[in-house]
C-alpha cells in the first residue's frame, strides 16, 4: 500500500483551496474598491458643495470662475443621448431578434450570430469617428439648424452600436421559450406572426426587458462616442440639435486637462461618477434579477 501522508497533503490541498477562494473574492474587492474610491472622493466634494445644489441645480460650470455644481444638465444630456439610442436600438433590435429566432433558417442564424458578435466588438472610438465625421455632416444636409456637436448624431450611432447586443440578448431569451408552447399555439390555428408576437415574445418578456435594461445601462455609461460627437457644453435642454455634455464626457474633459488631485474639479468627477455608478449598478442588478426569474421559469 502506498502510504501517502494524509496530514501534509491535506494541508496542501486546503492551502490551494484558499488560494482559489482568494481569487474568487477578488471580484468582490473590485466592487468594494470602486465604491470606496468613488464615495471617498465624493464625500470630500460634498464637504464643499451642498448635496441639494448638486442634485437639483440646473447649472454645471465647474471650470468657470463662477462655479455652479448642479448635475441636472449632465444627467439630462446623458438621458437625451441614451433615449435617442434606445429609440433606434430597441424597435430595430426586437424586429431583427424576432426574425432571427422565429423565421430565419438554421443556416441564416449560424452565419448572422457570429457577425453580430463581431460587430459588437468594434471599439466605441471608431463609432465616435463615424458620428462626428460622417453622420453629423450628413444630417446637417437634412436638418439645417444642426450644430456640429449635438445629441442626435451620437444618439443614432449609439443605437446602431448597441443593436447587436440587444439582438443577441433578445434572441437568446426568445429561443429559450420551450418549443411546446409554439406547438400549442400553432395547434390552435395561430399564424407564425401571431405565435411570434402574441406567444413567444410575451413569454420571453422578462428576458427581453432585461436586454433593454442592459442596453440602457450601456448607453448611459458609454463614453468615447459622446465625448467626441456630442460636445463639451453642459446644457439644460432636451433639444437634440445643440451641443450637450454627458456625465461620462465631463469626466473625459477633466481627465484631459491637468487637474491636480485634491482640487474641487478633481473631486467633482468622482461625485458625478458616483451617480453614474449607482445608476448603472441598479440597472444591472435589475437586469440580472429579471434574467434570473426568466431562467427560473424555463430552465
Amino acid at each position: 500500500m502506498t502510504s501517502a501522508t494524509p496530514g501534509s497533503s491535506h494541508v496542501k490541498e486546503q492551502m490551494v483551496g484558499w488560494a482559489f477562494k482568494l481569487c474568487g473574492l477578488l471580484s468582490l474587492f473590485v466592487t468594494v474598491g470602486i465604491a470606496v474610491v468613488l464615495f471617498a472622493e465624493a464625500a470630500h466634494f460634498f464637504g464643499e458643495v451642498s448635496v441639494v445644489e448638486f442634485l437639483f441645480g440646473t447649472e454645471w460650470t465647474p471650470l468657470f470662475t463662477e462655479k455652479h455644481f448642479g448635475i441636472l444638465p449632465l444627467v439630462l444630456g446623458t438621458l437625451l443621448v441614451s433615449a435617442i439610442a434606445m429609440i433606434v436600438a430597441i424597435p430595430l433590435g426586437i424586429l431583427i431578434a424576432v426574425y432571427l429566432s422565429e423565421y430565419a433558417s438554421a443556416r441564416v442564424r449560424r452565419s448572422l450570430k457570429p457577425i453580430l458578435e463581431i460587430l459588437a466588438s468594434i471599439p466605441t472610438i471608431v463609432f465616435g469617428y463615424f458620428a462626428l465625421l460622417s453622420v453629423t455632416p450628413f444630417l446637417q444636409k437634412i436638418i439645417p439648424g444642426l450644430s456640429g456637436f449635438n445629441a442626435l448624431s451620437p444618439g443614432i450611432v449609439m443605437g446602431i452600436m448597441i443593436l447587436p447586443f440587444v439582438v443577441s440578448l433578445t434572441d437568446d431569451a426568445m429561443t429559450a421559450v420551450p418549443h411546446s408552447l409554439r406547438m400549442a399555439a400553432y395547434g390552435l390555428g395561430s399564424t407564425r406572426l401571431q405565435v411570434a408576437f402574441r406567444v413567444v415574445l410575451p413569454s420571453a418578456s422578462s428576458g427581453v426587458i432585461a436586454a433593454c435594461v442592459l442596453a440602457v445601462s450601456r448607453a448611459v455609461g458609454e463614453t468615447m462616442l459622446v465625448a467626441i460627437a456630442a460636445g463639451m457644453r453642459p446644457t439644460f435642454t432636451l433639444n437634440p440639435l445643440v451641443p450637450v455634455q454627458t456625465i461620462t464626457a465631463y469626466i473625459v474633459q477633466v481627465s484631459l486637462g491637468d487637474t491636480p488631485a485634491g482640487t474641487l474639479e478633481y473631486r467633482s468627477i468622482f461625485a458625478v461618477a458616483s451617480v453614474l455608478f449607482v445608476l448603472t449598478f441598479i440597472l444591472n442588478m435589475l437586469a440580472q434579477k429579471l434574467r434570473a426569474s426568466f431562467k427560473f421559469t424555463y430552465a
Binding site: K12, G24, S27, I34, P114, L133, S134, G221, I228, T248
Partner: protein
C-alpha cells in the same frame, strides 16, 4: 378568404420591416467601414507604422501608439488571466451553493456591466494616486486587467462547466486530489474555451479608450515605453487625439489608425469565435 389575405399581408409587412431593420443596421456599418477606408487607406503605409506622432499630419505615425498598445494588452492579460481563471475554478469546483456565493456570482455579472470609465477612475484613485504608480504602463495595465476580469471569469466558467462530471469522477476514483484534478483534467480540457475568453479580453482591452484617459495616459508621446513605470500612449488614445483636431489631415490619420485597430479587433474576434465553436463541438462529439 379576406382573413387569409389580411394575414398574408401582415406577415409580409413584418417580413419587410425586419429585413429593412437588418439592412439599415448593416448598411450603416458598411458605410462606416467604407468611409474609414476611403479616408484613411492612402495614409496607411510603412512610414505610418514606424513614425512617432508629429505636428505635421503628413509625417505623423503610430509607432508609439501601437507599441504602447502591445505592451499594455500583454501586461493586462498577464495580470488578468491567472486571477480570472483561478476565480472561475473557485466558483465551479469549490464554491458551495449559499447566499454568499450567489451574491459573488451576481456581483461578477454586475461588474461586467460597470461602465469602463468607472474602472478608469478606480485605477486613478487606487493605482495612480494611492499606490503611487503614476500615469504608468503598470497602472494602465492593472486598470485594464480589472476591466477584463469579468470577461475572463465568465468564459472560463462556461468552459469548465462544459467538461462532463464523469471525467472528473474518473480522476477522483483513481485517487486524484482536487488540485490534481484541476491541474491534469480541468485546465487541459477547458484550455481552448479559456483561450477564447483570453482573446475576447484582448480585443476588449485593445479598443478601450475611456479608462486610459481617466488614469491620464498621455495623448502625445514621442518615445517607446522602457519599463513598467514608463508613461505610455495607446492606439485608441492616438485616434481620439487625432479625431479631436480640427484639421482634415489628422482625420485621415485617425482613419488610418482605425483601419489598423479594426483589423486587429476583428481578426481577434473571428479567431475567438472559430476557436469556441471548435471547442464546444469537440466536447459534444467526444465527452457527452
Amino acid at each position: 378568404m379576406a382573413r387569409t389575405v389580411h394575414r398574408k399581408s401582415a406577415e409580409s409587412v413584418f417580413f419587410l420591416s425586419a429585413l429593412l431593420a437588418l439592412s439599415v443596421a448593416l448598411l450603416m456599418l458598411a458605410v462606416l467601414v467604407v468611409e474609414v477606408f476611403v479616408d484613411g487607406f492612402s495614409q496607411l503605409d510603412w512610414q505610418f507604422l514606424t513614425h512617432f506622432p508629429s505636428r505635421n499630419p503628413e509625417d505623423a505615425g503610430i509607432l508609439s501608439a501601437w507599441v504602447g498598445s502591445v505592451y499594455l494588452i500583454t501586461l493586462t492579460v498577464a495580470f488578468a488571466v491567472p486571477l480570472g481563471v483561478a476565480a472561475a475554478i473557485y466558483f465551479e469546483e469549490y464554491a458551495r451553493k449559499n447566499w454568499f456565493n450567489t451574491l459573488m456570482e451576481m456581483n461578477i455579472g454586475t461588474l461586467a456591466g460597470v461602465p469602463s470609465i468607472i474602472y478608469g477612475l478606480l485605477g486613478l484613485g487606487l493605482f495612480v494616486r494611492t499606490l503611487n504608480m503614476g500615469r504608468s504602463l503598470l497602472a494602465g495595465a492593472l486598470t485594464m486587467a480589472l476591466l477584463v476580469l469579468p470577461i475572463i471569469i465568465i468564459t472560463a466558467r462556461e468552459a469548465i462547466r462544459a467538461i462532463p462530471s464523469s471525467v472528473q469522477d474518473a480522476a477522483f476514483a483513481l485517487g486524484a486530489t482536487r488540485s490534481q484534478v484541476i491541474r491534469t483534467i480541468i485546465l487541459p480540457l477547458s484550455f481552448p474555451g479559456i483561450l477564447t475568453g483570453i482573446i475576447l479580453a484582448l480585443s476588449r482591452a485593445i479598443g478601450e479608450t475611456a479608462p486610459l484617459i481617466a488614469i491620464g495616459a498621455l495623448t502625445y508621446i514621442a518615445f517607446l515605453p522602457d519599463g513598467l513605470s514608463s508613461p505610455f500612449t495607446a492606439l485608441p488614445i492616438q485616434i481620439f487625439n487625432w479625431v479631436s483636431r480640427p484639421q482634415a489631415g489628422f482625420h485621415s490619420n485617425a482613419a488610418a489608425a482605425i483601419i489598423v485597430l479594426l483589423t486587429i479587433t476583428l481578426l481577434l474576434n473571428a479567431f475567438a469565435i472559430l476557436l469556441r465553436n471548435y471547442f464546444y463541438r469537440r466536447i459534444h462529439a467526444h465527452l457527452s
